[in-house]
């Protein structure tokens, strides 16, 4: 009886201190993954202006940023999401663990896209030398991602392109295939993978 009380008491204390930590900012695995997400965001931020044409293209910087993202993707990411780790200020939605295969699939896809971007770094931007001409007609956006291209066959109404409707790559897309694309196309496959995951597994508070 006394032993049981002691255990209960200890559990209550542990619970209390966990709660206290939670309110003073991220700790433990939540902090780890928030830091990792932040570092990936920083990498995206460094090269985004090169992809949009706002800054001069720097092949080495693109390769380095892509590598940094690849290092944090895949299992490096998913192991930072142990089941039920929803402590404040985490923004993760509980659905993540209900759909664990899909979540890990997207994390894996991010690694493929990031490795692909590292290989595509040397290809440069599609738009370079074309005076902003990365459009051909209404539907095509030939930065490699959208138009018929690799996936082929579509009438404009029926989807297609390099991403499936739910943000997943078609079965079997590899990093070396993505590595053949213009770097800005590969970059979009990467950032839209980030978004697909944020859409479904992150609760935005702002």
């Amino acid at each position: 009886m006394t032993f049981k009380k002691l255990v209960l008491c200890g559990a209550a204390l542990a619970g209390l201190s966990a709660a206290a930590f939670a309110h003073s900012g991220a700790t433990g695995v939540v902090k780890e993954r928030m830091d990792a997400m932040k570092s990936m965001g920083d990498a995206v931020k460094r090269i985004k202006p090169m992809m949009s044409g706002e800054a001069a293209y720097d092949e080495a910087a693109v390769r380095e940023a892509a590598q940094a993202i690849a290092d944090e993707a895949g299992t490096a990411m998913t192991k930072k999401f142990p089941e039920g780790s929803t402590d404040h200020p985490s923004e993760v939605l509980p659905r993540t663990w209900d759909e664990w295969d899909r979540f890990t699939g997207l994390a894996q896809q991010l690694e493929v896209a990031a490795n692909g971007l590292a290989q595509a770094a040397g290809n440069g931007r599609h738009g370079d030398g074309h005076m902003m001409d990365d459009q051909s007609g209404m539907m095509g956006d030939h930065s490699g991602m959208m138009g018929g291209g690799m996936m082929g066959g579509q009438s404009g109404m029926m989807g297609g392109g390099m991403m499936m409707g739910n943000g997943e790559f078609p079965e079997g897309v590899t990093a070396s295939q993505i590595g053949q694309m213009p770097a800005d196309g590969a970059f979009m496959m990467l950032t839209q993978t980030c978004s697909a995951c944020h859409d479904r597994y992150r609760k935005d508070d702002d």
């Binding site: 949009s52 459009q135 409707g165 979009m188 859409d199």
Partner: protein, 301 residues
């Protein structure tokens, strides 16, 4: 003498009037929708911009595109976007173009029933007859599929559709899209897209308890999206404060990347993936220019 004068005056007046009438008397009829030739490519573009394909498809279900979307769960119940393929029973294969026009622009079903505002028809009222004909041509090219996403499940009393007539009277007016003469072409194009077919305000304008958009909260963000999501304010000052420029916002609508290197979530990723990423660079820049209230699509403006 006086009487003659009055009579003359009257004749002159009548003649004048009929002159005016003659001048403005329309001859011939405006072309009927069915007589217009639709451009399916342009229609598909509008269908992308309008989110038709995004909302009426559910890739996770394994069903083909446009056979009906994932349920939209709201406080009023669950709305299932219907099948828009050319199937005669499940889809719109038995519709006329006039029925299509009425559904899209006025939110009224072929049987006369009002649609629920989960369908953002209020933002589509500005589509021209030619726009409708183009979209119709695009939808005619969609293969027929019988399968659907199921039925709406609406709670009482909102399941009584006649109540929607009152709702329509109060709220079924979209934000303005007509051109403002002293603004640039890009700004006006952006306004046509943002306030119209791209229907940004369907999410970014907060709604009242009846699901009507609160005009005073135009693009000021909302914290009660279907499913409980938040969306930020996207008025010019809000966007500028968040670090957006015309250039970066246009690119954000293509890539999903935000000024701090983070990427969109809460459904905006889907909007980009299914919608804005498919638009022309020019249209994305126009949307960004309008949203930031600039007349130029470069950042000099």
């Amino acid at each position: 003498m006086r009487r003659v004068f009055t009579g003359l005056l009257a004749i002159v007046a009548v003649a004048g009037l009929s002159g005016v009438s003659l001048a403005v008397w329309p001859i011939g009829e405006p072309p009927k929708l069915a007589d217009l030739e639709g451009d399916a490519q342009r229609g598909a573009y509008l269908a992308r911009a309008g989110g038709c394909i995004a909302c009426h498809s559910d890739p996770d279900s394994g069903r083909p595109a446009l056979t009906g979307g994932a349920p939209i769960k709201t406080g009023f119940g669950s709305f299932v976007p219907p099948n828009l393929t050319t199937h005669k029973i499940s889809g719109i294969g038995a519709w006329s173009i006039d029925a299509f026009a009425r559904a899209v622009r006025q939110g009224v079903a072929p049987d006369g029933a009002p649609y629920y505002p989960a369908f953002p028809y209020a933002f589509y009222g500005h589509l021209s007859d030619q726009d409708i004909a183009d979209m119709w041509a695009a939808f005619q090219g969609v293969p027929a599929h019988e399968v659907t996403g199921g039925e709406n499940d609406i709670v009482f009393p909102f399941n009584m559709r006649f109540g929607l007539k009152l709702w329509r009277a109060a709220y079924a007016k979209g934000p303005p899209t007509e051109a403002v003469p002293d603004r640039s072409e890009a700004w006006n194009r952006g306004r046509w897209l943002v306030n119209g077919v791209a229907h940004c305000g369907a999410c970014h304008t907060d709604r009242n308890l009846l699901g009507g958009r609160r005009a005073s909260q135009y693009l000021a963000g909302s914290d009660d999206l279907p499913g409980g999501g938040n969306v930020p304010a996207i008025r010019p000052g809000d966007l500028a404060q968040a670090g957006w420029t015309v250039e970066s916002l246009a690119y954000g609508l293509k890539s999903g990347v935000m000024p701090d290197g983070d990427t969109f979530g809460s459904g905006m990723g889907e909007v980009v993936r299914h919608g804005t990423a498919w638009l022309s660079e020019e249209d994305r820049r126009a949307m960004a220019a309008f949203l930031l209230d600039k007349d130029e699509t470069g950042d000099g403006g």
